[in-house]
């Protein structure tokens, strides 16, 4: 059984002059200290990737830089699902006795380390090199396609999608580490610059610098124990051209497997941390996961259901949309915030009850999915 014993998170936004390794190191130090460990006790390292500083052996590069000699180390690449995929693997590694304390770490100076064009260009390469990329699509365009179809099938409007951006911004206002601190309205989202219609600038997460890390351990290291109750993946396709029908996407498969492996039901969940690269991503995933009825997620946002003091607090740090998105670290911030909530350390953002949390990550264009249940014990 894997326990999340420590978490670390930098602010997201601009970290002028910091390299990807710097940001990884800063988050790792915070997480190891939070777990009450010293760095020599870390015997496993899993890291994500950096589009700014690509390397074929990033985990080893990081371990040497950080000054540790782990008995198990490598990078993992599943796009936006990487953070939860690494957590799932760390959970299985400690459970199998391969390692005792696995450091899961990622960080990237994606905002200041390269131009926005370079970021957009690098990410667009998840498209098919022969049949998609020559057409000039961008990541927002891949999701814009999905959005147009989802809106068509379920009667969702652009105003509905805007509600998710407003909610994430409202949450970010209460977190000093968030990239954005100005409140926005549905009208602001609607009036923001068109990017890949129906998605506009405020429907899209930003590009950020930042780092996030956590330690996954075989045993608890503190009084409050947060453990992985169950998790599962699903991978249905890579390219949006080859995606299955909207009713057969991987999130529904992953959550069904995670429910089966954990014995948990959606009605057990008290806190939700769901991938939100775009407003449409959040709308679809909430409905695929069963946190809202089909086509009704926006109505639940309007009713306050996902507010900090609502029935199902969601991404209380502001999510990718407003806390920020530095690559793999982006969605890892969701887990850091979940851990703070579950251990009662979220300060002014603290929710009433976060005893059971559901986390979900998505990589590619709704291609790769990881669902995970965390629970507080003792």
């Amino acid at each position: 059984m894997g326990f999340i014993t420590g978490v670390g998170l930098t602010s997201y936004g601009k970290h002028e002059g910091s390299s990807s390794l710097d940001l990884m190191g800063r988050a790792a130090e915070l997480a190891i200290a939070d777990a009450g460990l010293n760095r020599a006790e870390v015997d496993g390292v899993l890291c994500g990737y950096s589009t700014v500083s690509p390397h074929i052996m990033l985990a080893t590069v990081f371990a040497e830089h950080f000054g540790i000699r782990p008995s198990y180390a490598h990078a993992v690449q599943v796009g936006g699902a990487t953070g939860l995929a690494m957590t799932m693997l760390a959970h299985h590694l400690v459970d199998a006795g391969i390692a005792r304390h696995v450091l899961v770490v990622s960080g990237e100076n994606r905002l200041t380390g390269q131009s926005r064009d370079a970021s957009i260009q690098a990410l667009a390469q998840v498209g098919h090199p022969d049949y998609e990329v020559p057409l000039g699509p961008t990541i927002p365009a891949y999701y814009g396609l999905v959005a147009s179809r989802y809106m068509h099938e379920y009667g969702v409007t652009q105003q509905d999608l805007a509600e998710f951006a407003v909610l994430m911004r409202r949450h970010a206002l209460t977190h000093p580490g968030a990239q954005f601190h100005e409140p926005i309205t549905v009208a602001d989202v609607m009036a923001s610059k068109p990017v890949a219609m129906p998605l506009k600038l405020l429907d899209c997460c930003p590009v950020s610098d930042g780092g996030a890390a956590f330690v996954v351990s075989r045993e608890r290291t503190g009084d409050t124990a947060i453990r992985v109750r169950g998790c599962a993946q699903a991978h249905t396709h890579q390219h949006v051209t080859a995606a299955p029908r909207l009713s057969e996407l991987g999130a529904e498969i992953a959550i069904a497997r995670a429910r089966a492996s954990s014995g948990m039901a959606i009605s057990d969940v008290r806190y939700a941390a769901v991938y939100d690269s775009f407003t449409i991503t959040l709308a679809i995933l909430l409905e695929d996961l069963g946190l809202a009825q089909r086509g009704e997620a926006a109505a639940r946002v309007r009713a306050g259901h996902f507010d900090r003091d609502g029935d199902m607090p969601l991404n209380t740090h502001g999510g990718l949309l407003s806390y920020g998105h530095c690559g793999v670290g982006g969605a890892m911030a969701h887990l850091v915030e979940t851990h703070l909530q579950m251990t009662g350390r979220a300060g002014s953002r603290q929710v009433r009850d976060a005893s059971v949390a559901l986390l979900h990550g998505d990589g590619g264009v709704l291609s790769s999915h990881v669902s995970m249940f965390l629970e507080r014990v003792g």
Binding site: D117, I120, Q121, A124, H128, D130, Y131, E132, P134, L135, G136, P137, T138, P140, A141, Y142, G144, L145, V146, A147, S148, R149, H152, K193, P194, V195, A196, M197, P198, L199, H239, V240, T241, A242
Partner: protein
């Protein structure tokens, strides 16, 4: 990608090509040396009619390279072809989901790309 038997737009020719599996009947768009459903090798390459129905659209207004920026805004579409496979292409900006469309070919960022317009 396996060797093309019929040249298509990805090689600069005015054609959309798909593969038809003789064993299980699957029609696939991304060229491979085998059927991705049943694994039988050498699916038969065929030229598509260029007609289909719009499945999804996204009008790109923010492009990432100087070559593509010159074309902004351009409409990326997913089309369900009448042969039964789905493909990505460009389309007229007035296209809506469900429209019946036919393909022509247009230059884009130094390449030739399929471009769909409403069927006459």
């Amino acid at each position: 990608m396996s060797q093309a038997k019929i040249a298509d737009w990805t090689q600069g020719h005015e054609a959309i090509v798909y593969q038809d599996c003789g064993a299980c009947g699957t029609r696939q768009y991304f060229r491979r040396g085998f059927c991705a459903v049943c694994g039988v090798p050498d699916p038969v390459e065929k030229r598509a009619s260029g007609s289909g129905t719009v499945y999804a659209t996204s009008l790109v207004c923010r492009a990432a390279t100087p070559e593509t920026r010159a074309h902004v805004p351009y409409n990326i579409v997913l089309v369900d072809t009448s042969e039964g496979f789905r493909m990505m292409a460009h389309g007229d900006t007035d296209l809506a989901i469900g429209d019946r469309v036919t393909a022509r070919y247009q230059p884009f960022a130094g390449r030739l790309v399929p471009h769909f317009a409403k069927a006459k």
